[in-house]
C-alpha cells in the first residue's frame, strides 16, 4: 500500500474545491492555497492493489476495533472526533438507515425511558431482524440497478426484483449467494407473476446491440466497484485497464440473450436464454465492422477452463457465467468485499472511503484504506454476512457520532463526524406518511398502492417517488433538489389537506390531546423530526402562535414549515 500524506487545505478563502482525491497533492506538490491555509490536517489517503487487501486479518472485528482504527488515524491528523449522538439523534438515524423510515413517537419515548446499558445494540438487532430491513434494502439495490438500466421497458420487472431481493435479505443470504444468483439467472420473468424469478432482473434489464457490454460494465461496477467500461473504446488513460481486458470480461456474457415472451400476439414477459455458440467481438478500432472474437478472462488475468477434455471455446453460457460468479465471489478476489463494504459504509456514514461509492480500483485513492481493508477482510472472513456487516458498523462509535458545524459536503469529514445526506425517495415518502397518515386516494379508479419505480403513476406516491428519486450510486453532493420537488411539498393539495387541523388529521389529534402549546409543539416535533424542539425553536413557534390569532391555523403553518424543512428530508 502506498500511503500518501497530503495536505488538506481548508480552502475557504479561495472557495477552492480541493476534491477528495487531490490529484495534485497525490503527486506531491502542495496546493497553492497552502500558504494562506489555516491548520492543515493530514489527509490519510492511499491506493490499494489486490495483494494489499489480502494482507489484512479476516477474523471477525472486535467490539471497538473500527473506532480504534479510525481514531488512530484521526489522532495523527490532529482531529478530534465529534461527540456521540444523543439517544434521540441515534434512534432517528438508525431507523432511517436500517428500515428506511423514522421511528414513531412512541418508539422514541420508550427508547429514552429505557435505562439498560446495551439498548442501542438491542435496537440495532431488532431492526436488522425486521422485515422492514429486508424491504428497505431490497428497494435500495433495486434503485442501484434500475437507475442505470438501458432497457427502459424492462423496468417493469423491477417489482420482481423487489420481491426476490426482499426474501434474500429476510433469510440473510450472503452477498456471495445473492451475487451468484443474479449473475447465473436464467428463465422467464412474466408480467403476471411478480413473485417469480426476480433474480433475472439484473441481466434482463439490458437489451439490444449493447446488452453484452452493458452487462459486463454493470457487473464490474456493482459487484467489484471497478469501472472498466471506460476501457471499452480505448485503453484507459488514467487507469490500468486495457481495452482487451474489458472485452474479455464482456465475453463471459457472449452467449446470453434476452427475448420477449409472446402469447396471443402480446408481450407477456421477458426471458433470459442461452445460445449454444457465438463469441463477443472486440470491434476494430479503425473499422467498427471488423472485430476480434474474445475469450472470457477475469480481470486478474485468469481464464476459466472447461471441465474435462473440452477445449475452452466450448464453454457454454451457463458455464461461463458460473465461472464469472466463482471468480467474483472468490475469497482470493478482495474487490468484491471492498466494493460492498465501501457502499454500505458510505450509505450509513454519509461518506465513503472511495468516492463515488462504486469507483474503486488499484489506481484510485481511498481515504483511510487501512480501515476499509480491515472491515472488508472481516467481511470476507464472515463469508459475506450482510447483517453482520451492518451490525458491526452500526454499533461502532464512529457511526454513532454527531454531525458537526463547519465545512462539510464536498470536503471529507474523515469519519470524525456524521455527514448529513438527503434521504432516498422511499424513506422520505415513509417519513411523510408516518407524519401525516395515509396519503393514497380513497377508492375510485386509481390503484391504491403502487409498485416499482413507476409505482402507480397516478397516485401521489408514484409521482412523489418519481420526483424525489435519485441514483443511489451518485455522490451525495451531486444529488440536488428540484423546483418540482419544492412545489410538490409546498403546494400539493393532497398534502395540504392533510396538514390542516381538520377532523381525522394528525394535527387535530395533537391539538385535542394537548391543551398546552408547549406540549403540542413537542408532540409535533417528535412526529415530524423525531426530536424535541430546542428552546430557540420553541420561542420562534410561540412567537408565531401569538402573531396568528387562530391556534389551529398557526399550528398548520408550523407543521407546513417542518415538513418543508431541510431537516425533514435529511438523514442526520
Amino acid at each position: 500500500m502506498r500511503l500518501v500524506t497530503s495536505i488538506w487545505g481548508q480552502g475557504r478563502t479561495w472557495g477552492l474545491v480541493l476534491g477528495l482525491f487531490l490529484v495534485s497533492s497525490a503527486r506531491g506538490d502542495a496546493p497553492k492555497a497552502d500558504a494562506k491555509a489555516k491548520p492543515k490536517p493530514v489527509l490519510p489517503t492511499g491506493t490499494m492493489d489486490t495483494s494489499d487487501w489480502l494482507k489484512y486479518d479476516t477474523a471477525a472485528l472486535q467490539p471497538g476495533e473500527i473506532d480504534r482504527l479510525v481514531e488512530t488515524t484521526l489522532k495523527k491528523a490532529n482531529i478530534t472526533p465529534a461527540s456521540l449522538t444523543t439517544d434521540e439523534q441515534f434512534l432517528r438515524r438508525v431507523y432511517i438507515d436500517l428500515v428506511g423510515k423514522p421511528p414513531a413517537p412512541s418508539d422514541i419515548v420508550e427508547f429514552l425511558k429505557d435505562k439498560t446499558p446495551n439498548k442501542r445494540a438491542a435496537v440495532i438487532d431488532r431492526l436488522l431482524a425486521s422485515d422492514d430491513f429486508a424491504r428497505h434494502w431490497a428497494l435500495y439495490f433495486r434503485d442501484v440497478i434500475a437507475s442505470r438500466t438501458t432497457s427502459f421497458q424492462a423496468r417493469i420487472f423491477a417489482r420482481h426484483f423487489d420481491r426476490w431481493m426482499t426474501e434474500q435479505f429476510k433469510e440473510n443470504k450472503s452477498w456471495a449467494d445473492i451475487t451468484r444468483a443474479l449473475l447465473t439467472a436464467t428463465g422467464e420473468m412474466r408480467n403476471d407473476t411478480p413473485d417469480k424469478n426476480g433474480q433475472a432482473f439484473f441481466l434482463g434489464s439490458r437489451m439490444g446491440a449493447d446488452a453484452v457490454t452493458e452487462r459486463a460494465a454493470e457487473t464490474s461496477r456493482i459487484f467489484l466497484g471497478i469501472q472498466i467500461q471506460c476501457a471499452q473504446c480505448h485503453d484507459h488513460p488514467s487507469d490500468v485497464w486495457k481495452r482487451n481486458q474489458f472485452h474479455e470480461f464482456a465475453a463471459y456474457f457472449a452467449r446470453l440473450r434476452e427475448r420477449p415472451i409472446f402469447e396471443n400476439m402480446r408481450i407477456v414477459g421477458q426471458a433470459l436464454m442461452s445460445v449454444p455458440f457465438g463469441e463477443h467481438r472486440m470491434p476494430d478500432a479503425n473499422d467498427p465492422k471488423k472485430g476480434t472474437p474474445m475469450s472470457p478472462r477475469f480481470l486478474d488475468g485468469k481464464a476459466p477452463t472447461a471441465s474435462g477434455k473440452f477445449k475452452f471455446a466450448a464453454l457454454s453460457d451457463v458455464e461461463r457465467r458460473k465461472a464469472l460468479a466463482d471468480a467474483i465471489v472468490s475469497r482470493e478476489n478482495p474487490w468484491f468485499a471492498a466494493a460492498f463494504v465501501n457502499r454500505i459504509w458510505g450509505e450509513l456514514m454519509g461518506q465513503s472511503f472511495y468516492q463515488p461509492i462504486d469507483d474503486l480500483g488499484p489506481q484510485k485513492e481511498a481515504l483511510m484504506p487501512e480501515v476499509l481493508a480491515r472491515i472488508a477482510a472481516s467481511f470476507r472472513g464472515s463469508d459475506y454476512d450482510i447483517k453482520g456487516l451492518f451490525r458491526v458498523i452500526a454499533n461502532s462509535q464512529t457511526y454513532q457520532r454527531q454531525t458537526r458545524p463547519g465545512e462539510a459536503g464536498e470536503e471529507h469529514l474523515l469519519f470524525a463526524a456524521h455527514n448529513p445526506v438527503r434521504m432516498g425517495a422511499n424513506a422520505l415518502w415513509q417519513n411523510l406518511v408516518n407524519t401525516l397518515g395515509d396519503l393514497s386516494p380513497r377508492g375510485g379508479f386509481f390503484p391504491k398502492k403502487g409498485f416499482g419505480p413507476f409505482a402507480g403513476p397516478f397516485s401521489l406516491e408514484g409521482l412523489f417517488k418519481q420526483e424525489f428519486g435519485f441514483d443511489p450510486s451518485s455522490k451525495s453532493d451531486e444529488i440536488e433538489g428540484s423546483v418540482s420537488q419544492a412545489l410538490l411539498l409546498m403546494n400539493s393539495p393532497v398534502i395540504n389537506q392533510k396538514i390542516r387541523a381538520s377532523q381525522g388529521n394528525v394535527l387535530a389529534r395533537i391539538l385535542a390531546t394537548y391543551e398546552s402549546d408547549d406540549e403540542a409543539l413537542r408532540a409535533l416535533y417528535l412526529k415530524t423530526l423525531s426530536r424535541r424542539p430546542s428552546e430557540r425553536e420553541m420561542e420562534r413557534c410561540k412567537t408565531h402562535l401569538r402573531g396568528v390569532a387562530n391556534r389551529a391555523e398557526a399550528f398548520e403553518d408550523i407543521l407546513w414549515a417542518l415538513i418543508n424543512s431541510t431537516e425533514f428530508q435529511t438523514k442526520r
Binding site: V17, R221, A408, E410, M490, N496, Q497
Partner: protein, 432 residues
C-alpha cells in the same frame, strides 16, 4: 452575479467542480443564488449569446412518424401506398397530403430527407434523438433541452429554463448537468402546471409567513452541521417561491389567448402545447419540448398517420407562422422530428415498421433558410441517394443555429469528458 465570484470557482485536478460547493460560494456572494447553477457559471464564456435571447422548440413525434406520410411522400411507387402529395408555397417541394398548413409555411421551413441512424428500438432511439448518444449505464447524458438551457439560458429568470409538455413519465432529463437544467414537466397544457398555484386556504400572505417561519426554524439544524444542505434547500425554495409569485407564470395560462388563435393551433393537447411553447418562449423560456404520441403505426398506418398529420400540421404551422409574424422566428429554432422513420414496405396489417435507415426531419427559424430540401431518398424510399445526415450532424446543426460550440466538453461525475456532440458536422447548406 459578479464576475468576482465566478473567479472563485475552480476545478480540482480532474476538472471537476463540486456543484454544492459552487452553489454555496455563489450564495455567499450574490442574491438570488438559487437561480444559478455551477454549470451555468462554467458556461459563462458566452454571455453575449444569453443576451441574444435565442430559444428552441422541439416538436417530438413519439413512436416514429412515417416519412412517406409526412415529408417524403412517394406517390406512384408501391412503397408509397395510397398517400398522395400536395404542392407547397415553394415550387418543387411536395409534402404528403394532409400537411396543407405546413405547405403554406414552406418558405420558412427546411426539410432533411436523408437522416440516417441505426437504432430501431423506441426507447433507445428516443434517448439518442434527445441526447445525441446511445444509452450507456456509465453516463447519464443530458437531453438537448438541458444542454441548450445550460449553454444559453438567461441567468436571472424566474421560470424554468426547460419545459417539457405532454410527457409526464418518460421525459429524458438533464443527466449529469444536474437539476438546474432538468425539464419542468407539464402534463396537460390546457391546465396550469401541478402545484404552481397556492392550495386552497393559503393566500400569498400566509405563504410568505410560512416560508419565513421555515427559514427561521432551520437555524438550529444549519448550525449543527446542516449548513450547506440548508443553503441549497433555501436557494431551491426561493426559486420555487419566485416561480409561484412570478407574474410570468401566467404564460402557462392558455385561457388568455383568443378563441380564434386556439382554434388555429388545434383544440387538442398538441396544438395547445405548441401555443404554450410560443407563449413560454416569448416569456423568456429557453427550451420547450412538445410531444405528439401515437406514431408507432404497425397497423393501419395510413388512417392513423392521416389523423396524426392533421393534428401535427395545424400546431406546427400555426407555431411557425406566429413566431414569424411576431418577430421571434429569427431567434427561435423549431425542430420537428421523431425517433426514427418507418419501413418502405407496407406490412400485412397495412402498417409500417421501424426504419432508422432513412427518414425526415423539418427545421425552421434561427438562421435556417426555409424553402429547401437537404438530401434525398431513392424512388422507393429504401436508401439515401444524396447527402446522408447522421444524428451527430443533426445535433451539430442544432448547436450551430443556437450558437453553441458542439465540441465543448462537459465532465461526467466520474471525470469522463463528454463533448456536447461526439463528432459530426453541421449541415452548412441549411444556413446558406
Amino acid at each position: 452575479m459578479s464576475m468576482q465570484s465566478l473567479m472563485h470557482v475552480q476545478t480540482n485536478g480532474a476538472g471537476v467542480v463540486s456543484r454544492r460547493h459552487f452553489l454555496r460560494s455563489v450564495a455567499a456572494g450574490a442574491a438570488g443564488a438559487g437561480l444559478l447553477g455551477w454549470k451555468e457559471a462554467l458556461a459563462a464564456q458566452a454571455p453575449e449569446l444569453r443576451r441574444e435571447g435565442k430559444a428552441c422548440i422541439l416538436l417530438f413525434m413519439r413512436g416514429g412518424p412515417s416519412q412517406f406520410e409526412t415529408f417524403d411522400p412517394k406517390p406512384g411507387h408501391a412503397n408509397g401506398g395510397p398517400t398522395q402529395a400536395i404542392d407547397t408555397a415553394v415550387e418543387g417541394i411536395r409534402l404528403a397530403e394532409g400537411w396543407t398548413n405546413v405547405a403554406r409555411e414552406m418558405r420558412s421551413i427546411a426539410l432533411i430527407r436523408s437522416l440516417t441512424n441505426r437504432e430501431g428500438e423506441h426507447q433507445r432511439a428516443t434517448y439518442q434523438m434527445h441526447t445525441g448518444y446511445v444509452p450507456l449505464a456509465a453516463v447519464r447524458y443530458p437531453s438537448i433541452g438541458s444542454i441548450v438551457a445550460s449553454e444559453i439560458a438567461p441567468r436571472d429568470f424566474d421560470l424554468p429554463h426547460f419545459v417539457s409538455v405532454g410527457n409526464r413519465f418518460s421525459t429524458i432529463g438533464s443527466g449529469f448537468l444536474g437539476m438546474q437544467f432538468a425539464p419542468f414537466v407539464v402534463g396537460n397544457p390546457n391546465q396550469m402546471p401541478a402545484n404552481v398555484e397556492l392550495p386552497g386556504g393559503t393566500n400569498q400572505g400566509r405563504f410568505d409567513r410560512r416560508l419565513n417561519l421555515m427559514t427561521d426554524l432551520e437555524r438550529d439544524f444549519a448550525e449543527a452541521g446542516g449548513q450547506q444542505l440548508v443553503q441549497s434547500h433555501q436557494a431551491l425554495y426561493s426559486s420555487a417561491a419566485n416561480m409561484v409569485r412570478s407574474p410570468r407564470i401566467r404564460a402557462f395560462d392558455l385561457s388568455q389567448e383568443a378563441a380564434a388563435v386556439r382554434d388555429r393551433y388545434g383544440r387538442n393537447a398538441f396544438g395547445s402545447g405548441c401555443l404554450l411553447a410560443r407563449r413560454l418562449v416569448e416569456a423568456g423560456v429557453t427550451f420547450v419540448e412538445v410531444e405528439l404520441n401515437g406514431w408507432d403505426t404497425h397497423q393501419d398506418n395510413f388512417n392513423r398517420s392521416k389523423s396524426l398529420s392533421e393534428t401535427a400540421d395545424a400546431g406546427f404551422a400555426a407555431l411557425v407562422r406566429d413566431l414569424r409574424e411576431r418577430g421571434r422566428l429569427d431567434r427561435t429554432l423549431v425542430i420537428w422530428m421523431g425517433e426514427f422513420g418507418r419501413t418502405p414496405r407496407i406490412n400485412g396489417n397495412t402498417g409500417r415498421d421501424h426504419y432508422p435507415r432513412a427518414f425526415s426531419v423539418a427545421l425552421a427559424g434561427c438562421g435556417i433558410r426555409g424553402g429547401q430540401v437537404i438530401g434525398s431518398t431513392s424512388a422507393g424510399g429504401n436508401d439515401i441517394t444524396n447527402r446522408p445526415v447522421g444524428v451527430a450532424d443533426l445535433f451539430c446543426t442544432f448547436c450551430h443555429a443556437l450558437g453553441i460550440n458542439p465540441r465543448k466538453e462537459n465532465v461526467s461525475p466520474i471525470g469522463r469528458p463528454v463533448p456536447i456532440v461526439d463528432g459530426g458536422q453541421h449541415v452548412r447548406e441549411l444556413f446558406a
